[in-house]
């Protein structure tokens, strides 16, 4: 009996690891999707309503897709240090700290560099900079979705299969 319980635990554990992999893939594409959508809102707020940056960050921290709210909340939290630190530094720290976005090196660099332009230039230039970042993130989103489609079943299969394999050997 104990053997069968152990076998079930091994299969559950490896299966769980496989599902974790699936969840990570899903989270990565959701975060990129959310980021692109929130940048679209940011562009509209800055260009159409000329909303001050603090209000933009507050709005996105509350209404952006759940997966990216942390980025805007961290940036908003840093605004109290404006004057002691530049906005770029505040934004860059927020991007660095937002590990939940699971950005690749390139995407993180592009998003960090956006801080050099945000709030510093006129509306047109900020709009161009935000659009540029969105365009650079879109291929990453396509890649992430492609990877998710391709690897979801693989992760699940390998998770369960490795568990079964281990059980067969151990039994």
């Amino acid at each position: 009996m104990i053997r069968w319980i152990g076998a079930a635990l091994v299969i559950a554990a490896t299966g769980g690891m496989g599902l974790m992999g699936v969840w990570r893939l899903r989270r990565a594409s959701q975060a990129l999707e959310g980021l692109i959508a929130s940048l679209q809102i940011m562009e509209s707020e800055i260009c159409t309503r000329m909303t001050p940056m603090r209000e933009v960050l507050e709005l996105l921290g509350k209404t952006a897709p759940q997966s990216v709210r942390g980025l805007y909340r961290r940036a908003l939290g840093g605004m109290g240090e404006l004057g002691m630190r530049s906005f770029y530094s505040i934004w860059a720290s927020a991007v660095r700290a937002s590990r939940e976005l699971a950005l690749g090196e390139d995407e993180e660099r592009v998003l960090t560099e956006l801080g050099l332009c945000l709030g510093r230039y006129d509306v047109r230039e900020q709009a161009e900079a935000i659009s540029r970042v969105r365009r650079r993130l879109e291929p990453a989103l396509l890649r992430a979705e492609e990877q998710r489609r391709r690897d979801t079943k693989l992760h699940a299969f390998f998770g369960l299969a490795s568990g079964l394999f281990a059980v067969m050997i151990l039994l």
Partner: protein, 307 residues
């Protein structure tokens, strides 16, 4: 809190618009100097300075860099240059708390007008303040037959026109035992007079004052006339032909006016063609000249039709 404490607090608010290292130097000034300071000045290549009634004093330390001014602009706009774009094209930023940051540097042109600043060379933070009681002796002379008469406050830059305007607005709006308060429509284009923040004035302009903030004076005066039924319309620094047309239109609607203009004396204004419609139409019945000798300001009221 004493008046001197309040003035020191106003200075501290202005110092908070400076980048960290310059702020620390400004905050080290003795309380008496902080209370008397009128402006904070940054010029690339020179140490930051404070304008006192007697003249500028240096804050010492490392010279100001272009980056310092960029940071000050970032603080003043809340990292939102886009929100202050229209005023920056005219060379200033209206900051929270009723401070105004003036800017100089290399300007670039766009669409036939000033597009913005390419590189900053200097900045000045003006410390707007309330001087309660400043208009006490002046106020009775601004009325005739129980009615407030259109008044122009005339002085060179930095003499305290806005401060006096604010105090007269507050007194007119509040009224006193002898006179009821008047409905004052305030055109606060640069946000310096009332320092409106989230709908509430940070500086006291009285209980019966309706404020239009960040709106060009000409449009603001017409909007107030159409919507708020004011008894007095107040505006700071009438300079452009549009402002002067707005003043004339308001006057034709039977509303008393209270305004300020740059100039040492009425003859100064007469020599400028843009102001001709004002003195040809006899718009203002009172002129207040502000004379300044160091920290002491005296007000001279010229009644009748000096323009």
């Amino acid at each position: 809190m004493t008046y001197a404490d309040r003035l020191s607090e106003r200075f501290d608010g202005a110092a908070r618009l400076l980048p960290g290292r310059l702020r620390e130097r400004a905050e080290r000034l003795p309380a008496a100097d902080r209370a008397a300071a009128e402006e904070l000045r940054l010029r690339v290549g020179s140490p930051a300075a404070v304008l006192m009634p007697e003249g500028e004093i240096s804050l010492g330390g490392e010279p100001v860099t272009r980056r310092d001014i960029e940071l000050a602009v970032e603080i003043a706009t809340g990292a939102s240059v886009h929100s202050s774009q229209s005023s920056m094209r005219r060379g200033f930023i209206s900051c929270r708390g009723g401070y105004r940051m003036g800017l100089c540097g290399s300007v670039f042109m766009s669409g036939g007008g000033v597009g913005g600043f390419g590189a900053y060379s200097s900045a000045v933070i003006r410390i707007g303040r309330e001087r309660r009681g400043a208009a006490d002796r002046l106020l009775p002379g601004l009325f005739r037959d129980g009615r407030f008469r259109s008044t122009l406050i005339l002085a060179p830059p930095g003499a305290g026109k806005t401060t006096l305007l604010r105090e007269i607005v507050r007194r007119l709006s509040s009224g006193d035992g002898r006179r009821p308060g008047l409905r004052v429509g305030l055109c606060d284009e640069r946000g310096e007079i009332a320092a409106l923040r989230e709908g509430e004035p940070e500086l006291d302009v009285g209980p019966r004052t309706d404020i239009l903030d960040a709106c060009p004076k000409a449009e603001a005066a017409m909007m107030l006339l159409r919507t708020m039924n004011p008894q007095v319309i107040a505006m700071d620094e009438i300079t452009s032909p549009e402002d002067i047309r707005a003043v004339e239109s308001a006057r034709n609607c039977g509303v008393a006016l209270l305004a300020t203009a740059h100039g040492a004396c009425p003859a100064d204004l007469r020599s400028r063609p843009a102001y001709r419609p004002l003195f040809e139409g006899g718009v203002f019945e009172n002129t207040v000249l502000i004379r300044r000798d160091g920290p002491v300001r005296t007000y001279e009221l010229m009644k009748g039709e000096p323009l």
